[in-house]
């Protein structure tokens, strides 16, 4: 196990940021810490890096007890959401910083910096200042800087959070490919479930200072351990007291299937290739159901506002019993 966190607790005043967290992060993998803002995932990452100290519990990195080591002795690379570029240094100097601190010979530093700038496609910008780079380029520079010292662990705190959607997607693909090339154990924090599902080998879902579930993207999506994980990983709706994904509901305009629930389409919103329906179910007290169908399917069935429909869960679709408390919350989310 590359990183072992055991019984870590952290409080800020009365606020419990982390409550007795234990997790093992295996060597060579790309792990995502996923959760809502304020859930404690960044705090956990900063405790692993030594930028924050735990009130209780231990951190082991590559078998070395690291709980009380200062950050500079942990051999971790850290990448910040807002880049933390050294503004008064050129791109090359930024990347060289860790090596110069370690007093490596000049020609070795130069060779390594050239290699890394090549790796992050910034060779032609070596002599620019960070202020002359775009956000995506700055973050790539920060990555090269963190990788320069050959860390045993690479930690990224919402690395793409400050970038616009298109650059974010590009960098996400790039990070995955980079990781396949470099194979350094990597942990990144994100609140974007799509980012986590797309990039990570393993996802740790953290909420309210506690771990909700650990698993591969498939496991999390197909076998969510709780209604929280289910609703955080994608849109959900409630059908007969069960949480289900809106695209896992089959819609028909005939009541042929036993157990189908009848209702009337009250709203139709088309977003690109999909059509989002809101269905008022013919049962007193049942909340409105959100259903997503493809454009073609909706056209075939001639669905429009006022159409009478029957709903059944798709066979084998993941469902989770709806908690009373989350009912109103999730249906409100879908309505938005």
């Amino acid at each position: 196990m590359s990183i072992n966190v055991s019984g870590v607790t952290k409080k800020f005043g009365d606020f419990v940021a982390l409550d007795d967290i234990s997790v093992d992060l295996p060597t060579g993998q790309l792990t995502a810490l996923l959760g809502p803002s304020g859930g404690g995932k960044s705090t956990l990452l900063r405790i692993i890096a030594g930028l924050e100290s735990a009130d209780d519990g231990t951190v082991t990195i590559e078998g070395n007890e690291a709980t009380h080591l200062p950050p500079q002795k942990r051999n971790v690379g850290f990448v910040f959401q807002h880049y933390a570029a050294f503004k008064h240094m050129s791109v090359a100097k930024n990347v060289a910083f860790g090596l110069e601190i370690r007093k490596r010979p000049k020609d070795e530093v130069k060779r390594r910096v050239d290699e890394l700038l090549e790796l992050v496609h910034l060779s032609q910008f070596a002599h620019r200042l960070p202020s002359q780079l775009s956000g995506g380029q700055r973050q790539r520079m920060a990555l090269a800087r963190a990788l320069a010292v050959e860390p045993s662990v690479l930690l990224l705190d919402e690395p793409f959070g400050a970038l616009d959607a298109k650059v974010r997607k590009e960098l996400r693909d790039w990070l995955r490919r980079l990781h396949d090339e470099v194979h350094v154990t990597t942990v990144f924090v994100t609140h974007d479930q799509e980012e986590a599902l797309e990039v990570a080998d393993e996802i740790v879902v953290i909420n309210d200072g506690r771990i909700e579930q650990i698993g591969s993207p498939d496991q999390l999506y197909d076998e969510p351990a709780s209604d929280f994980v289910m609703s955080f990983l994608g849109p959900v709706t409630t059908l007969e007291n069960k949480l289900i994904r809106p695209h896992d509901i089959e819609v028909s305009t005939h009541s042929r299937i036993a157990g189908a629930i009848g209702g009337t389409v009250s709203r139709v919103v088309r977003v690109g290739f999909e059509v989002r329906l809101t269905v008022s179910v013919d049962r007193p007290g049942h909340p409105e159901v959100a259903v997503t169908v493809t454009r073609a399917h909706s056209r075939n069935l001639r669905i429009e506002e006022g159409t009478k429909v029957w709903l059944t869960p798709t066979h084998g679709a993941p469902v989770v019993p709806a908690m009373e408390s989350s009912l109103s919350e999730t249906s409100a989310e879908i309505a938005v």
């Binding site: 030594g50 930028l51 950050p71 500079q72 942990r74 933390a84 910083f97 601190i101 370690r102 800087r145």
Partner: protein, 274 residues
């Protein structure tokens, strides 16, 4: 910014300019220019001759000594206090921050009196014991340095604190995670980041220290040729109707302070263009 007001009618724009320029001219530029005019009324020769008078030469060199010490002390403590205020949380932080403005609010004469009360050799709190140990504070250079440090204390801190807050601690943390210890992170990352604030702080403290009058007058005893600084000798020569000497020293003090500001103004834009 200026362009957004360009649509105002011409009389408003011109009116504002004339009022501002007239105000600054009457209050600052003209009176200062008159000091130089009077100092140079009998030519450069007469002005420099004044400075060769042993008592006046001593006053100028004493002012230099006090200024160098006061600026150096304020540099070290100003930086330390700024970092403490911005980067650390501790009980009483707000009280400390408020106290640092006291020297700006309180009259320097009061500062001088306060120092005399604490450090005088007869009945001060520390004075008698320090004097027994061989340190004379009041009526001597250390007291004058202390008075000047006190008065110029907030200048460095008020320049550095906002810049430290603005650059944040991300860069320092990045440096730490890359293997730098606290001292290396400060020297290589923090200090270059606040460089210009420090330079400005030094220049402002320098100008303030050169011109300090009230606190130093109380603390020094104002003995000509011994504990008289340049500002004090401006007053004495003026009261003794030595107009030439008085204007010459005043012009020198004004010139030194202005030269500092000009040097910084010239250096600063170059840095930003890089």
């Amino acid at each position: 910014m200026a362009t957004s007001y360009a649509s105002d009618p011409a009389p408003v724009r011109w009116g504002l300019r004339i009022v501002t320029l007239g105000y600054v001219f009457l209050l600052v530029a003209w009176p200062t220019a008159l000091v130089f005019k009077n100092a140079l009324a009998n030519g450069f020769g007469a002005m420099f001759e004044t400075f060769s008078d042993p008592e006046i030469a001593h006053a100028i060199s004493l002012t230099l000594t006090i200024t160098v010490w006061a600026v150096a002390i304020n540099l070290v403590f100003g930086l330390t206090i700024s970092i403490l205020l911005v980067r650390y949380d501790f009980p009483g932080k707000r009280a400390l921050s408020a106290m640092l403005d006291v020297p700006l609010a309180v009259s320097p004469v009061v500062v001088g009196l306060a120092l005399v009360l604490v450090y005088n050799g007869r009945d001060g709190w520390f004075g008698p014991s320090l004097e027994e140990a061989g340190f004379q504070i009041i009526f001597s250079t250390p007291g004058m340095i202390m008075a000047t440090v006190f008065v110029a204390l907030p200048l460095m801190i008020r320049e550095v604190v906002p810049v430290l807050e603005e650059i944040g601690d991300d860069q320092e943390q990045a440096a730490r995670s890359l293997g730098a210890n606290a001292v290396q992170a400060f020297r290589r990352i923090t200090l270059p980041g606040i460089k210009w604030a420090v330079v400005y702080g030094v220049v402002l403290s320098l100008a303030r220290s050169l011109g300090e009058f009230g606190a130093v007058k109380i603390v020094s005893g104002n003995i000509s040729g011994q504990s008289q600084t340049a500002t004090l000798s401006v007053e004495e020569t003026y009261q003794n109707f030595q107009q030439q000497a008085s204007y010459s020293i005043a012009a020198l003090l004004a010139f030194a302070a202005m030269a500092c500001l000009v040097v910084v103004a010239i250096l600063r834009p170059k840095e930003q263009q890089e």
